[in-house]
Amino acid sequence: MRLSVDGRPVEARAGDTVAAALLAAGVLDCRDSAVGGVPRAPYCLMGVCFDCLVRIDGVDNCQGCLVPVREGMRVERQRGARTVG
């Protein structure tokens, strides 16, 4: 299964979550934090910590650990806080 991460193609195993696919592909950090702008990576992988937030197919703030990968999915790294609109 193939996704894109910030425009780069990444191979993923069907059945993996986005967060697991990123880690498996060696993409360690998935966002820069909203307050301090420092890199963060998935921490709990069970939907609790919200550190794996990524933009998926244009939707901000998706919990990467809860979303299964789909063919052609576009994943983008989030930098800092989101803006409204």
Binding site: R13, G15, D16, T17, A20, L23, A24, L28, D29, S33, A34, V35, G36, V38, P39, R40, A41, P42, Y43, C44, L45, M46, G47, V48, C49, F50, D51, L53, N61, L66, P68
Partner: protein, 468 residues
């Protein structure tokens, strides 16, 4: 009109699966709402489709979940995976979000089976990429067959940490060090519970076997002052042991200090909670059937206090039997007869727990961080900032929201609440329970305004907010 069901079960771990299986078997229209894509919860995560071919890696306790899941699938209970529950109220109206759309379900009874989460382990550098929880690493192993490429450092204490170390050994993963933080003083607290544990706990044999498997793993005991260090990502772990500072180069540190109940939903619903001084956590006040202080709302499994997966399934069954009585499906006499095996099994599975609670109690240094250690991962507040807020009059966790926004980020206090409570209580010289906890409100997980706006509403409700 909201969809109505007899019983809504929230969570598809052992408690939820067992509860739904019993309830559906008694003829209740039962729906299971679960955030994950497949049933099993975290303990039996990916049991139906784990890519791990070698069954011995995860061990027999994991595979026990197959039976539970198979019974659930055969039960006739409806399963809504990928569903976030963001609200539950005293009238058992449940707000859910699925595939980007929110709606309500009205339940005659509700069983909250939301399980546990790992206790926060706030050390300097714990927000660095390369630091994860042991539970997270185990999820990667179960669900994706992933293991660390390079030698990994495990730190903390508690059964899950040792289990993960053993599973890594079976998978051929190299462990650079197991840094055991259990203070020697824990034995003083634990020893009086040892006879009960040694004579009756089902975990004695398993625990000894596990410890045996860890022979050969470099292990440090009495570890203190743990730090994760690196610039933008983890490069090394440093700690003190035996009065000497040590440092290990690694790119992966896995932390664990036991698990605590996930109480956000039961708190937000308005259930009464009590402080558990042995397990250092809040837990909902329940009766012998798991009934909470709110009529028709039950809490089952580790979400009602940590007893482990086997006990969780039995607690789920007990709650389901009483829910069936409450809904008029069976009378109290029949309930008691049907529930007898589950009650007996629960009693057996719970024996000796006090020994484990005492032995693996997290050390104070790990619950009471200092200085610029981040305590709130969402709002990036530090321990020093919490103490400054207390110094100018902040009395408790709920008030701290107004000072530092702790508890108001996306995780809704799940990662900072216990630390904030402990820090404030210590600074004020008060018992931990007395400073209280965050006042938790729905939505207990973030949903978009668009979803809220699109919720079905009555003409009266729409008129009430329309101008003109």
């Amino acid at each position: 009109m909201n969809e109505t069901v007899d019983l809504a079960v929230i969570g598809a771990g052992p408690a939820g699966l067992a509860a739904a299986t019993v309830a559906a078997g008694l003829g209740l229209a039962t729906v299971v709402l679960d955030e994950q894509p497949a049933p099993g919860g975290q303990i039996y995560r990916a049991i139906g489709d784990t890519p791990l071919r070698e069954r011995a890696i995860l061990g027999a306790d994991y595979w026990r979940g197959e039976e539970l899941v198979a019974a659930f699938h055969a039960s006739g209970a409806r399963h809504l995976p990928g569903t976030t529950v963001w609200s539950l109220d005293a009238a058992r109206e449940i707000g859910i979000s699925r595939d980007g759309a929110a709606r309500f379900i009205q339940a005659g009874a509700a069983i909250v089976a939301t399980g546990a989460l790992e206790r926060p382990f706030p050390i300097p550098g714990w927000t660095l990429p390369g630091v994860m929880t042991a539970g997270a690493a185990q999820i990667l192993l179960k669900a994706s067959g992933l293991v660390p490429e390079r030698p990994v450092v495990l730190a903390g204490c508690g059964p899950l940490l040792y289990l993960l170390a053993a599973q890594y050994r079976r998978a051929g993963t190299r462990i650079a060090a197991l840094l055991d933080t259990a203070p020697a003083a824990n034995w003083h607290r634990a020893w009086r519970h040892l006879p009960e544990f040694a004579l009756a706990s089902p975990y004695l044999r398993k625990g000894l076997a596990l410890i045996g498997e860890l022979r050969g793993v470099p292990r440090r005991r009495g570890v203190e002052a743990l730090r994760a260090e690196g610039d933008g990502r983890l490069a090394r772990v440093s700690f003190r042991a035996g009065g000497v500072r040590h440092s290990i180069d690694t790119d992966l540190l896995l932390l664990h200090h036991g698990v605590i109940p996930q109480v956000n939903l039961s708190f937000a619903a308005g259930c009464a909670h009590d402080w558990d001084a042995a397990q250092l956590c809040w837990r909902p006040r329940i009766d012998e059937w798991g009934a909470s202080s709110l009529d028709g709302i039950y809490v089952a499994g580790d979400g009602a206090g940590i007893l482990g997966a086997e006990a969780a399934a039995e607690r789920g069954r007990l709650a389901a039997f009483d829910a069936a009585r409450r809904l008029g499906r069976i009378d109290a006499g029949r309930r008691n007869v049907l529930a007898a095996p589950a009650r007996h099994a629960l009693e057996r599975a719970s024996r000796g727990r006090r020994f484990l609670d005492a032995l693996y109690r997290p050390p104070d240094w790990a619950r009471l961080p200092e200085g610029d250690t981040v305590i709130c991962r969402c709002e990036e507040a530090t321990a020093a900032q919490v103490l400054e807020a207390v110094a100018i009059g902040c009395p408790g966790p709920n008030q701290l929201k107004a000072f530092l926004r702790c508890g108001m980020g996306p995780c809704q206090g799940r990662q900072c609440g216990p630390t904030v409570q402990a820090l404030i209580a210590r600074a004020r010289g008060l018992p931990e329970a007395s400073v209280g906890y965050y006042r938790l409100r729905p939505p207990v997980k973030p949903i978009t305004l668009a979803e809220l706006a699109a919720l079905p509403k009555t003409p009266e409700a729409a008129r009430a907010v329309v101008r003109g």
